[in-house]
Symmetry: C2
Subunit: 576 residues, 2 copies
């Protein structure tokens, strides 16, 4: 029991020197990557830069205790930072103490919800977010985030949480562009793109060992930070209008209290839920992918508790909502992290940075951080999901397209909500018109297949329908209509057999429909039979009067039904 809630007891007992060495190497690489990212994501969330660093210390430690993934790297991530900005921006003014306090409240609510969902084993609610909706949402978020950073590249103020708002604000402010800021931003962005795509092959070409090439590539953002900071300091660019990070408190994470007014909590409940679910979904998919590579297991309910604990930690130590990041978890895994201890060492690295390195980022230009974010999030933008879903299924395409469009034009919460709603409605619509195949006997076998796809034998007096859907209220009447139409059109029909091999459930509405069908067929002098009814469905039907009143029989297999209902001569004719 204790070990279920504290996975650290499991891996901690077997921790050895080899694991320690591997975890330490991974921690160094992730720390180098995380320092500029945590500053940048705090900027994206509208918070002071230190919030990003604080959000990467205690939350990581808590996840190391409660989480089940060996490789997941927890901390501030782009999409959740954007959602935080959108949610907190609606209840407080950016830059105020109220804003930071509301971000803590959001982390508290999100952490509380995650822990609660984990304890109540409600991880399945995340399933309401379909893959296409998540892909569409992340793509749209990437576009929103990249656009939101353009103001830092241009060095102009521009507010707005939707794409049209942001573009309009940027357009209005274009004349105020600070050229020096623009040069720094464009150079940094170009450099980071080059590092991302070309540095590693370039270094390998020079004969650099793979691990070193890898570390140097990951250190690319650090190089951009150092270079631009030095340039701003040496050339006195801050006096020329280049916005800089400025003074960052030099301390370990402080103990903070989230604001808890009922009004604020009420307004943040829904955003907190969305942040929790989206953060969880992002996290669990990367955790499971990485775990599978080593044949390890992730317990989704315990992951909820781990992420919840991390967010509660963020709420009380000056952070904001966190989750498992995709890119940094993959880096962690590739660098050889063996246990959550690697995360703990990363936290240690960040703590050292918080105490020792913060004065060094005083002259760091915001444009460089914006460049870091832009290069990071453009990797999230993948419009190919539109083409892929279009090719596979129009319903999935509609859900993606709606999610992207509404996220960009209305906002992140409306985007997710409309995607989920549309997915559910389209699913219900599809199951409301199930595929029903008339089947016949494949010659020389005991198999029954669709008469339109296969050469099969049939009998005009026996209509056999294979219903390819569970029967429930949304399609109950469909079956009534279908059978009535088929039987009134086919005058020779004396028996209707419903083949239930693909009927996984029959709800009360469908039961009443079956009773109505039975009654109507009896009025018409036609028998109603069932075949291949599954165990769980049969268990339930046995509790009702349907089987007693059935105007026909229940057959174990469709072949039994055929042998019993179709007279020998008809069968011989049909099978020829």
């Amino acid at each position: 029991m204790l070990r279920r809630y504290l996975p650290i007891l499991d891996w901690g007992r077997r921790y050895d020197r080899r694991a320690l060495a591997n975890d330490l190497i991974a921690a160094v690489i992730v720390t180098i990557m995380l320092i500029p990212q945590s500053l940048a994501y705090a900027l994206l969330a509208g918070l002071p830069p230190e919030a990003g660093i604080y959000a990467s210390i205690v939350p990581i430690l808590l996840y190391a205790v409660f989480g089940t993934s060996r490789a997941l790297a927890v901390g501030p991530v782009a999409v959740v930072s954007l959602m935080t900005a959108a949610a907190v921006g609606q209840v407080a003014q950016q830059g105020t103490a109220g804003y930071a306090a509301a971000a803590l409240t959001l982390a508290l609510l999100s952490g509380g919800m995650l822990v609660l969902m984990g304890v109540l084993r409600l991880g399945f609610v995340a399933n309401f977010l379909s893959h296409p909706v998540i892909a569409g949402f992340i793509t749209a978020s990437g576009i929103l985030i990249a656009t939101s950073q353009l103001k830092h590249i241009l060095g102009v103020p521009a507010e707005g949480h939707t794409l049209p708002q942001m573009l309009a604000a940027l357009w209005m402010q274009l004349g105020q562009t600070n050229l020096i800021t623009l040069v720094i931003g464009v150079l940094a962005t170009g450099f980071l793109f080059w590092v991302r795509t070309n540095l590693k092959p370039f270094l390998r070409g020079l004969g650099t060992p793979p691990l070193l090439a890898d570390i140097l590539t990951k250190a690319g953002p650090v190089a951009a930070v150092v270079t631009t900071t030095l340039a701003v300091w040496a050339l006195g660019l801050a006096e020329r209008g280049v916005k800089i990070v400025g003074a960052v408190p030099q301390s370990l994470p402080p103990l903070t209290m989230p604001a808890l007014s009922p009004d604020l909590v009420g307004q943040l409940l829904l955003p907190a839920l969305l942040i929790s679910v989206i953060g969880f979904v992002e996290s669990i998919s990367v955790a499971q992918t990485l775990a599978a590579k080593k044949r390890q297991r992730i317990d989704p309910d315990q992951e909820l508790i781990g992420l919840g604990a991390a967010n509660l930690g963020a709420a009380f130590t000056g952070g904001y909502p966190v989750t498992g990041g995709f890119a940094r978890s993959v880096v962690n895994f590739d660098a050889g992290a063996e246990t959550p201890a690697a995360g703990a060492f990363t936290a240690l690295g960040l703590a050292i940075a918080a105490v020792a390195l913060t004065p060094l980022v005083y002259y760091l230009p915001n444009a460089t951080l914006a460049a870091t974010i832009i290069v990071a999030v453009l990797g999230l933008v993948d419009l190919s999901i539109l083409r892929k879903t279009w090719a596979y299924s129009r319903a999935d395409f509609a859900a993606v397209a709606a999610t992207i469009l509404v996220t960009l034009v209305v906002g992140v919460e409306a985007g997710v909500a409309s995607g989920v709603l549309l997915s559910v409605l389209l699913h219900l619509y599809k199951t409301s018109r199930p595929h029903v195949a008339e089947v016949g006997l494949v010659r020389g076998t005991q198999h029954f297949r669709n008469v339109n796809r296969h050469q099969v034998g049939t009998d005009p007096e026996v209509l056999t329908l294979r219903v390819d859907e569970s029967l429930y209220f949304v399609n109950a009447r469909f079956l009534e209509d279908l059978i009535q139409r088929r039987v009134t059109d086919g005058c020779a029909i004396r028996h209707v057999v419903l083949m239930f091999s693909a009927v996984n459930a029959v709800d009360y509405s469908a039961l009443e429909s079956l009773e109505a069908i039975n009654q109507r067929l009896r009025d018409m002098g036609v028998g109603l039979h069932l075949s291949e009814v599954k165990g769980p469905v049969m268990d339930r039907l046995r509790k009702t009067h349907l089987l007693d009143e059935l105007n026909g029989r229940v057959f174990l297999s469709q072949f039994d039904a055929w042998q019993a209902l179709s007279p020998q001569p008809a069968r011989q004719t049909a099978a020829q």
Copy 2:
């Protein structure tokens, strides 16, 4: 084409003398039944009594032209009258011209929606109302309606649209009870109950011919109307505080214009939709039940057009929303109605009543009409649905219970909405945790069944799972977790076979999950195979890379998979 939209062209050509005679008899019986009912339902809807008569003339004629049911009797019905009162009561004061005009608007909107749904073939939206939700809603409506009539029996004013409001209002007014009204009401109610349950057996016992006994029973309400009207007139009870119907205009239905202010239309849109859908569902179920008895066919989309035309007719001739009534359609059918012409003759009967009989109901006490309603609607109240659904499935029970409770306590619209929402959520929840059976070979056959229910042969190296649900976003991750758990727990497993006989669809999320499962199993060195994939599912999977990248094969039948994957010695051991 024309004949699709005008079913009258179909049956009208073959109309003969025998059909005419049968239709005439049915029309007489239904007319006798309909006169007091239409006055009473208008009272329930909060409208002047003539509105009920008008709603029974032109709408019936229009349905006779456009409807497909041979037996459906259209007109004012109890549940729709209640819903009209609830909807119109929110936008206008009862007794004002605005109230009547809003009722016309409601009929117009409802008619327009029904016709539109019919033309667009959207009849399936009615399927979102599950049988239990409808049963619960009708039961709760019956209770609400009966309670709402108690004020007429007591002769007191009492407003309110929910059960607690009505009971509180009645309690406050109890002291003002008019004793004469109470005596009339109680006697009329008792008499009508006796007629309903005992008169027919009593008359048959006296040797009355069945048809006459039937007509006399149906005329029971007329007898109550005549007797109490005469009593009130002869004894001058109206001056003693007995509320009477009063002056009813003596005319054919007038030409009326529904109010059309944008505000009003906006407020009535949702109620109109609910009235349309509920009216359609009630109508179509009785129409189909009656049609089946004569092996006739109902076209649901054309029914929408027929009911829509009837409502449009009501909107322009002083009526209010109408639909096909259950009790009166059964009476119509039992009395021998052969074609919609029976309805036309009923309309003629009502038109004569409107012109000639209205002065005679001047002294008709409201208490008698209330008694008519109470006796009619108590037949709708059937709390056994709670017991039946409880026995069959907790999910259906929850939907019924929520519908009944919310309808009584909050209102009709909230009641239906919460029932639908809960049904959908519970369905999604159920399909999010599908039944997955591990199957093995039944000895001596080619059949594979659940290892927990049957004596079957298995092979420790081959895990065969039969997934009993379509794979879609709500359960995609469930399968990922399940397979990862089973494979990490069972170290000997070398092949996983997913038996797809009950998988009716695979959406894009599930496709990505299958790809993830495939990738993870490959990382673990385990093969992934599919068997018994249905045609429509296979068509879709062929458009993707899954089949090319599959870390295993697709087998036509599970038996093929077993033969290919399980080595001969293992099979022999397993089958022993």
